[in-house]
């Protein structure tokens, strides 16, 4: 299973998403969510949204391994 995190505004759309999902890439997680969470997936499809695996920014097709952590990151606003 993969641990899945949603930050910033994405979290507002992901309150009902399970915290672990079985998937082989971040892109597959997005596909799996499409039916039940269309608003969230519309947000995930924004080009500025980045994805990280085990706290490193990666591409959407990065292979996932059991116990890994995927996070979806909207544009940051620190400072």
């Amino acid at each position: 299973m993969i641990n899945v995190l949603f930050f910033g505004r994405l979290g507002d759309f992901a309150k009902q998403v399970p915290s672990t999902i079985e998937a082989s890439t971040p892109a597959e997680i997005r596909e799996l969510l499409a039916a039940d969470f269309p608003e969230l997936v519309r947000e995930l499809n924004q080009p500025q949204v980045l994805v990280s695996v085990n706290k490193m920014i990666v591409g959407w097709d990065q292979p996932l391994f059991d116990g890994g952590e995927v996070a979806f990151l909207p544009p940051v606003t620190g400072g």
Binding site: F7, G11, D12, Q48, K55, A71, V76, T77, G78, G79
Partner: protein, 164 residues
């Protein structure tokens, strides 16, 4: 070089942080500190005429573990680009009120140009790359802050030949 990176809920003491930077080494000839505060308004440039919206409070979320490693990397990069003696980055998270301190960047160097430039570089990075997200409360409603094009433009000035 002496680098201190902290992400914390509690406030920080600018005078104390300045003293730490100042006392690092007798070669320190310049200390630049920047502190960012919570304003009581947010400018929404997307709305016609840049509407100013007043806010009641601000909340900062971050990605624990990732933020720290990103900040370590960027402070390392600042050390490669400039001749620095000590660097302090403190970023607060959690709930903050107008006038609260949010962020401190402090840089000590032999000469002022290094400290000024490195402080700008670190702030531009914090604004555009580090994994922090701000939301505001306004009349009891919570709203995420949009990232600003002006911050992206400010950060783009560092994307020179010696950037990765």
């Amino acid at each position: 070089m002496t680098d201190r990176i902290r992400i914390q809920e509690q406030d920080f003491d600018l005078a104390e942080e300045y003293q730490l930077l100042r006392q690092t080494d007798s070669a320190v000839g310049a200390v630049v500190t920047f502190s960012g505060l919570v304003r009581d308004f947010e400018v929404n440039a997307e709305e016609a005429g840049s509407v100013m919206n007043s806010i009641d409070s601000l909340s900062l979320q971050h990605y624990p573990g990732m933020t720290e490693s990103l900040l370590e990397k960027i402070v390392e990069e600042a050390n490669q680009r400039w001749n620095l003696i000590a660097t302090t980055v403190i970023h607060r998270v959690g709930d903050l009120a107008p006038k609260d301190q949010i962020v401190l960047v402090g840089v000590a160097s032999q000469h002022r140009a290094d400290a000024f430039e490195a402080a700008q570089f670190l702030m531009d990075y914090l604004k555009t790359k580090a994994t922090f997200w701000k939301s505001v409360k306004r009349n009891g409603e919570h709203q995420w802050i949009e990232s600003k094009a002006s911050d992206q433009q400010a950060a783009a000035r560092w994307d020179g030949s010696d950037d990765k």
